[in-house]
Symmetry: C2
Amino acid sequence: MNFELITTDTHSKARAGKITTDHGEIATPIFMPVGTVGSVKAVTQEQLRDAVQAQIILGNTYHLYLRPGLEVLSKAGGLHKFNGWNRPILTDSGGYQVFSLAANRKIKEEGVVFQSHIDGSRHLFTPENVMDIQRTIGADIIMAFDECPPYPSEYRYARKSMDLTHRWLDRCIQRLKDTQPAYGHEQTLFPIVQGSTYKDLRKASAEYIAGRGCAGNAIGGLSVGEPEQEMYEMCGLVCEILPTEKPRYLMGVGTPWNILENIALGVDMFDCVMPTRNGRNGMLFTWNGVINIKNKKWATDFTPIDEHSACFATRDYTKAYLRHLFVAGEILGMTLASIHNLAFYLELVTEARKQILQGTFASWKASMVNQLKTRL
Amino acid sequence: MNFELITTDTHSKARAGKITTDHGEIATPIFMPVGTVGSVKAVTQEQLRDAVQAQIILGNTYHLYLRPGLEVLSKAGGLHKFNGWNRPILTDSGGYQVFSLAANRKIKEEGVVFQSHIDGSRHLFTPENVMDIQRTIGADIIMAFDECPPYPSEYRYARKSMDLTHRWLDRCIQRLKDTQPAYGHEQTLFPIVQGSTYKDLRKASAEYIAGRGCAGNAIGGLSVGEPEQEMYEMCGLVCEILPTEKPRYLMGVGTPWNILENIALGVDMFDCVMPTRNGRNGMLFTWNGVINIKNKKWATDFTPIDEHSACFATRDYTKAYLRHLFVAGEILGMTLASIHNLAFYLELVTEARKQILQGTFASWKASMVNQLKTRL
């Protein structure tokens, strides 16, 4: 994997760059749609490529390990072949899901013992076997195994958890040195900065992570319930420490305005379930603000969902029709809302990149944030 | 509407033809995907046009009348504008749904009083207002208001019901004479043959319907639980009586082999929820036979769903991936299965038409029927 930093904004820390992987290029800043179980929910791979114009998607190691499981993924020749998405893929480490979804999890130095949320079966995730699992899934970018402490966490716990995450990172790095990619293409490890909302811990973690010399770095443990200002403060502090010549990935963030604010702090990569999950509940993000499409006010509004978008789901269907689909409980409503929201998120980062390249990002961002938050 | 009968098979009653409407042409025999509430479930209009290659879709008057309702449909400029499908649309009369879905229905000479299955509200359907409702929906082909008796029905009831359907038909015809299309394009009425499974009633009904001189004719009340042989017998008897120079539409039928057998009897048009409803439950129809994609045997089958199909949903995804989507409860599974099944149904009637045109339909049909029924 190669990262080329093309330009940095003069009025903010925003950056435009380009990541090159064996499955193709990614223009940054980028938003990565989440394909939890090997499918971005309610969207076909063709729609993801042509309508959303996604450049990279995410897979969740925890989910894929449980279903379809490693035997199927291995026989398929990895996730790219299994789901037919031949552009870059990133997998998380399963750490976050083990803490948010699994039952009876128990953290030890060795790793985490947990029970599947599907059938209650017992499993062990260690830094080593999580690297092996991600080898088998075959993503282009793979994440270190970490513990993501909840918000709020006590200082003692946050520090202990951060230290464990750092020790686990060293074991991940060693395991990758000892093993080879399963399918020939390169797999690049991103370590994860933790430290909850404590500045000194975030600083220590960022320095530790930066010191590992990995090709890209991630910021975890944010957007887990803390106030937005605290997220921005932690993210800004960490971005100051992480090396400029490597991509920075802020995990699990967020709203359109969160994304613009964090781009301004120097983040290059984002993922979030919000455009799909909220989309399936009828919440639409647009250039004019936020729409609850179930609202009666849209019943006879025969204008497109967003007149500024080129996406077919946005352009070819009216608000009145989409509202009808949600009121009638039609699956097509979830599909169209998901495609619209994802296409909007991709348009948002594409436009941000354009503004960075032409030196107008900071003022553009300032004018956009309130607009994007408006409830229509 | 115009119907051109291009050829009739020499070894069966199968016909190839062409229907021309103000929204475009339909090559017959044709299968019409069912878009109950203005959406073919889980499929976008783009997929319906490009992947399924649907030429005409159905809307259900009962559902559309309740949701989104006539005010919205009228303001939208009709269903074509509302859902963005600009090819031909056919609407049923609501008769079948009133009897199968609504609560506390009461049949009188005037019409049917019923309660909505959604909110229990009381409504009255009469031949006259059902014509008015279909004017407002704006379909190209509209159906007469009929009573569809259940199977089995006693002879007395079936005859009484048939007579009522005939009297209602005359009121439908009169109402259409007294009113104009709402949006400028032509709307063509198809009357419906009833008579349960009684030969003399079917004969009497077909003669009555044929005598009305409508531009196309439909056969209702079949595929409601009767044995397949009885369906074929009734359908064959009716097709002998209905005029050859007008299209014949067999309502609500059926499996792929049902469709081939009824084409052989002289039917030109079909609709059925089977490809979408069964698809959403993991049942796939292919040129090789029927697949239950949830079955464990497909877990590591990395071949396409059907190697004989050109549809992307069929060609670009493997059986193993589709099985995984169903096991994991992913919406994408329902979407891909629906698109695959609909594309297959359209391929089936397209191939049947080709065989009719080249004079090989009867032998081809004989060789296909058992193949299509095979459980894979």
